[in-house]
Amino acid sequence: MQIEHIEILEFLKRHSPFKELPDDLLQQVASATDVCYFKAGSPILQFGQSLDALYVIRSGAVETFRRTGELYNRLSEGGLFAEQGLLRKRKVRFPATALEDTLLYLIPADYFDQLCEQSDFFADYVEISDEERRKNSPNRRADANELMTSKVSTLINRAPIMLDIDSSARDAAMAMHAAGVSSLLVIAEQRMVGILTDRDLRNRLVAPGLPFETPVRDIMTTELISISHHQFVFEAMLLMLRHNVHHLPVLQQGQPLGVIAISDIIRYESKNSLFVVSSIFRQQSVSELAALVPDVRACFVRMVNEDANSHMIGSAMAVIGRSFKQRLLELAEAELGPPPVPYCFLALGSMAREEQLIVTDQDNALILHDDFVPEQHDDYFRQLADFVCHGLAACSYTLCTGDIMATNPKWRQPLRVWQQYFRDWITAPSAERLLHSSIFFDLAGVWGQTEWAEQLNRSMAQLAPKHPLFLASMARNALQRTPPLGFFKDFVMENDGRQNNSLNIKRRGTAPVADLIRVHALAIGCSESNSFARLRAIIKAKLLPPGRGEDLRDALEVIAMARIRHQALALEAGEEPDNQLSPERLSDFERRNLKEAFQVLSNAQKYLKFRYQGNRS
């Protein structure tokens, strides 16, 4: 006979991962549950002791510890422990002690196994340290949005219309008309050599008044921007944005599979970053640009609500930020006249890493041509920098408190000076000097001679791996900010057991992850800027112990998404977004994931210390 334990059942119904279980299963669990009371201070589980149950805190509080005696976790009502031990030979891994007078519900190990088997949610929830859990949760949510999960190939609805390179423009127009398309691919010797679009016919044939018999080879676009069929629609969108094209050939093993047009994507999405970007380029003044800020924020919130991942959001915001800079520079040049010598406007930090969010400093700099003569030219560039930086500030990219901006003469220098800066930082390093310059190691060209930015990236990637002292200094700086241990009730738990009301999720989370990834990336001479791209290179180089790179990637995703959601929630509530995370706003699920992610970060920092500091203290 099964007894219905009302109190146990009602309690489980209020807490994850039980409340997600079907009612009948939950009733069985409640009926099989045992109970035990522990007075404050008394040990509950000892290391290595055999386990026969999952422990759920009914009332009170419990601390779990590592074998070293280090605090592992502090849990309160609804918290559960011993799951790691149950998953590993049913032996206690993290000893537990009652912190307060505590009543525990004990769910038998056999039921635990059964729940893991019958409920994916339960399994995800309890599986230890859970690369699985960290990975699955964003993925599962992402199912909701087609744009983010659809492959480019799903947008192709017909084979590409192809034409020989020697055909006439008229033939091309007729073929396009017959097929009802706005572009076709141009073929020579069975290879795709170019693309011809409506725009090409208009701009390169009709406008200059060329005859209709002109061969397509003279009017086609040969700088082919294409995309692979297995990439995401989202990536196609970004490619179009970046290169300002409206058609993308889709390739499968080098062969054209079809062409997607911007209108194909628009059919999927009608209000997205694409529109924000295009409206940026239509604005005629700083005040008009500033008026777009609500649209930018709406676009951010929208992406969060549609469950985009952090990389999608970070790069969309970076593209938007980059567009603001580009438009401001266009406006500046229109006002000040053409530049006296060529220049390159640089984005630094999160924008360069394509990890930009809503609350962000502007970090930028100017590389000038080596012919730059301060007395003659600097007046122009000072005004240019002033215009852009204050324009950005008006668009709510706040001025950089560290004065890392093009307005600072130190960061408005010819290419050779910049090369010398990097040589000095890398060959004669000191942690103090590098502390404020690590941001320069995330660098991207935004406007003008962007190849100079590439040049700097390449030379730092070449130099860095050969300078262990530089890496050691960077590593030391990367260890200055550490993650907290986790959460307890509505507090942030520090490693020494102290409790705080809130957490700066940038300073204690995303920034230290980016910092440590940067050190590894420099060590292997990787010239990528994005943290995920860097991690891929780091994993490929086998720099980290097996699995650690993947763990770190998932941890970064969890932490970044927590920060992103925090800002989106604030925006939706009509508050000014910030990086200060309050645990009371986090769900149980987020807390657990974050805790695991902090743990991964903490371990990764220990490894970084070991790897680069070694015998040098």
Partner: protein, 249 residues
């Protein structure tokens, strides 16, 4: 220093508390006298000796819902039992029976237990479930909150049905609370000042140990609540080494 021995609690007896000094011996003689086979078996299973450490005593938390408070006049309608030890409360092995009293359910008790006439009409007589109940109790010491109900009601009911009653020792969690909070009778000053005595009701007692609020008046939930209270009391004021004789009545 003058040693005065262990503190003597005022051992107030309730009417109906058995005057038994050696329960093991008493059970052996009851086993001889009992007529009903289920009772014979129950007594034959024995009872832990008074000097047994609490850590080693098998226990059974028990709660009855009744039609009133007079054992001779009111009847049992529901029985909940939860086996336990100091280490664990085996709520997974809890039992629950509805039984049909000889006496009519009053409107008042229906309100308290939420057990209706029709449910009770369909329930068996206690003699039908007696073997099962006694099997649950066999070899274990019964734990109740306020010993004025379960033991006298079971005794009276069996006396009525089988013409022989039942005797067994109980640990009374309410009495354990009373020992702490009612060690002395309220003084005249307390009375004059209108000082309320500390409540030793189940829910209030549980709160003092940080135990959660459970909704009362379901026999199994009340038995579970009582089991948890005993674990908390022993963890707080006694020890696993406390001999059984210090606690039972």
């Amino acid at each position: 220093m003058l040693y005065l021995g262990p503190p003597k609690h005022k051992q107030r007896r309730l009417p109906g508390d058995p005057a038994v000094t050696d329960w093991s011996k008493h059970f052996a003689s009851l086993a001889e006298q009992a007529q009903h086979p289920a009772l014979q078996q129950y007594y034959q299973a024995g009872i832990p000796g008074g000097d047994t450490r609490m850590a080693e005593v098998p226990l059974l938390a028990m709660d009855f819902e009744t039609t009133g408070f007079e054992p001779g006049r009111d009847g049992i309608v529901s029985i909940g039992t939860v086996p336990m030890s100091l280490q664990r409360i085996h709520s997974s092995q809890a039992k629950h029976w509805l039984v049909k009293p000889k006496f009519a359910l009053t409107g008042q008790s229906v309100v308290v237990h939420g057990i209706t006439h029709s449910t009770i009409e369909a329930a068996p007589d206690i003699t039908d479930i007696l073997p099962e109940l006694l099997q649950q109790m066999a070899g274990k010491v019964v734990v109740v909150h306020f010993r004025g109900i379960e033991r006298p009601f079971l005794h009276a009911t069996l006396l009525d049905r089988l013409s022989e009653g039942i005797e067994f020792p109980v640990i009374d969690t309410m009495e354990l609370e009373a020992r702490l909070h009612r060690a002395r009778s309220p003084s005249l000053l307390d009375k004059l000042l209108g000082r309320e005595p500390v409540s030793i009701r189940l829910a209030d007692s549980r709160r003092r140990y940080g135990l959660p609020d459970y909704r009362p008046h379901d026999a199994v939930t009340d038995a579970l609540a009582c089991a948890e209270l005993l674990q908390a009391q022993i963890a707080d004021r006694f020890s696993p080494d406390t001999p059984l004789s210090e606690l039972w009545r």
